[in-house]
């Protein structure tokens, strides 16, 4: 069913009680042409583009919990593409080009809001690094510009630019085309679109083992809903990627850390943009409901607990109170954690693996929501054809052996 003014009016007549389910919830078939492990935004987008652009619709997306319940539904939704290296500009830039048209593409309002993302520079090093980013981005045709402290305050009037505070603002890098989107809607929109094209989305279905033949090639998966045969598996399991890959005997260049976020009680509109501070690990924007959405830093140790230490959130809030004095008496409503899969170079992995038929899309760490459409799009190509396209190619697993890292870690350390 297509959402439109007409369908809205028709459903209004019946008190909105007759809206159909937005995706099917079938029992698994015995065989699929491809199986995606993980129904986060990236896995669902992969399935959607496989069906739509490669005509491969006999695909199942298996999810151990509920779709979008992993990092997709836990993130602070910052979207930008002003990364340092060309390879990163390639993949994040590709995603950024898909965002503006995504609601139309999916016939589903993903609430993409390019309200501008401003990265604060607090010290000399930040300033040098951001200026270097700005020059690199401009060469690649990616918008990014330098603001003085006064210009930064004009762009975000609640920002404190007093020179005598603990984290003074020395300037900012602004990407005007950056912004936010509604995380759940992205997962739901791709789920609905994929399901309508024939993809089976199977929730509450945990992959427990990867089955292989004598040559080592994959032949299927064992799940909590039984065995399912396939010759192609795409693992898109974010924080649990190492666990799933170990089922095929593979070790990964990944460590899983908790990353926390919070939302405040709702306010009238006070913040017209997104503000990020990598130096103090504070990321803030205002949701359409009025809550301030606040991202914190990662906890310092490997964990799968989906929580984290309170001292991490507290140090972020201390910095937020100083940078935005208006927030100092605000109550926080909720605090949660997700488990992010970080790579040594802080860039993702979109790759074939040494196991025939096994592919992986992971390592998005603290900053993969922004890449959802682009990641799904290029990973669908990799799964369908067996070869990466030129956007995905630099993100092969093999780079850790060859030394061709895409090192975004030195530049920013974090990448929300």
């Amino acid at each position: 069913m297509k959402f439109s003014a007409v369908s809205l009016a028709r459903q209004a007549l019946s008190g909105h009680k007759d809206w159909p389910a937005q995706w099917r919830s079938p029992e698994p078939k015995r065989y699929y042409d491809a199986i995606i492990v993980g129904a986060g935004g990236h896995g669902l987008a992969t399935a959607y583009y496989m069906a739509k652009e490669h005509g491969i619709a006999n695909v199942a997306v298996l999810e151990k919990g509920w779709l979008g319940g992993g990092n997709t539904g836990r993130n602070t939704t910052i979207i930008r593409s002003n990364y340092l290296w060309e390879a990163s500009e390639g993949i994040y830039g590709h995603a950024h080009k898909l965002w503006p048209g995504l609601s139309q593409e999916l016939n589903y309002n993903v609430m993409f809001s390019p309200r501008g993302v401003m990265l604060l520079a607090h010290n000399h090093h930040d300033e040098q690094a951001f200026r270097r980013h700005i020059h690199a981005n401009r060469l690649a045709g990616i918008p990014n510009e330098w603001l003085t402290p006064e210009q930064a305050r004009d762009f975000c009037p609640i920002l404190n630019i007093d020179a005598n505070i603990r984290y003074p603002v020395r300037g900012a890098a602004l990407q005007r085309t950056g912004g936010t989107a509604r995380h759940d809607a992205v997962a739901w929109g791709y789920a609905r679109g994929a399901s309508a094209r024939g993809v089976d989305i199977i929730q509450n279905c945990e992959v427990k083992a990867i089955l292989r033949d004598a040559s080592g090639a994959v032949t299927g998966v064992e799940t909590t809903k039984g065995e399912i045969a396939t010759r192609k598996i795409g693992v898109v399991a974010a924080g649990n990627t190492s666990v799933v890959m170990a089922m095929a005997g593979l070790r990964m260049p990944l460590e899983s850390f908790p990353l926390q976020a919070l939302v405040s009680e709702p306010l009238k509109p006070v913040m017209p943009c997104v503000v990020m501070s990598n130096a103090v690990h504070a990321y803030m924007s205002q949701s359409d409901k009025g809550e301030l959405v606040i991202g914190a830093g990662t906890d310092g140790y490997v964990s799968y607990s989906q929580t984290g230490g309170p001292h991490i959130a507290v140090s972020t809030l201390e910095a937020i109170c100083e940078m935005f004095p208006i927030t100092s008496r605000l109550k926080m409503l909720r605090n949660w954690g997700g488990i992010v899969d970080t790579t040594p170079d802080r860039s993702p992995i979109l790759s074939k693996t040494p196991v025939a038929g096994l592919y992986v899309n992971c390592g998005w760490g603290t900053g993969g929501f922004k890449a959802t459409p682009g990641s799904g799009h290029v990973f669908a190509h990799l799964l369908a054809t067996g070869e990466p396209n030129e956007i995905a190619a630099p993100f092969a697993l093999d780079r850790f052996r060859s030394g061709n890292l895409v090192n975004e870690a030195t530049a920013a350390a974090v990448a929300h």
Binding site: N240, S242, R251, M252, Y301, S303, P310, H311, R401
Partner: protein, 91 residues
């Protein structure tokens, strides 16, 4: 916040006194390692879901490195032990 027992100070102290040092018991042998082994040493990790042997440093205490067995799902610490000691058998 974790409460961590430092095996040198023999005291339980809050996590903020410590710094995490990654997976424990990795052997660094650049002279002997093949390219594969060296890649593995530099970048690949077990990233265990369950009981994980890891290094910690009592950064603002005695300053020393030690090892710790922790369940990465519950974050409960099963044991801490001095650097150089073998991994205790699972409790």
């Amino acid at each position: 916040m974790l409460l961590i027992h430092c095996p040198y100070c023999e005291m339980e102290r809050p996590e903020v006194e410590f710094k995490y040092g990654g997976q424990a018991h990795l052997v660094r042998e650049p002279q002997k390692a093949t390219d594969e082994e060296w890649t593995d040493f530099l970048y690949f990790r077990d990233n265990t879901r369950g009981l994980h042997a890891e290094r910690w440093r009592h950064a603002v205490g005695c300053g020393r490195f030690f090892n710790c067995l922790r369940d990465t799902v519950s974050d409960k610490i099963a044991a801490t032990y001095k650097a150089g000691e073998p991994r205790p058998s699972s409790p």
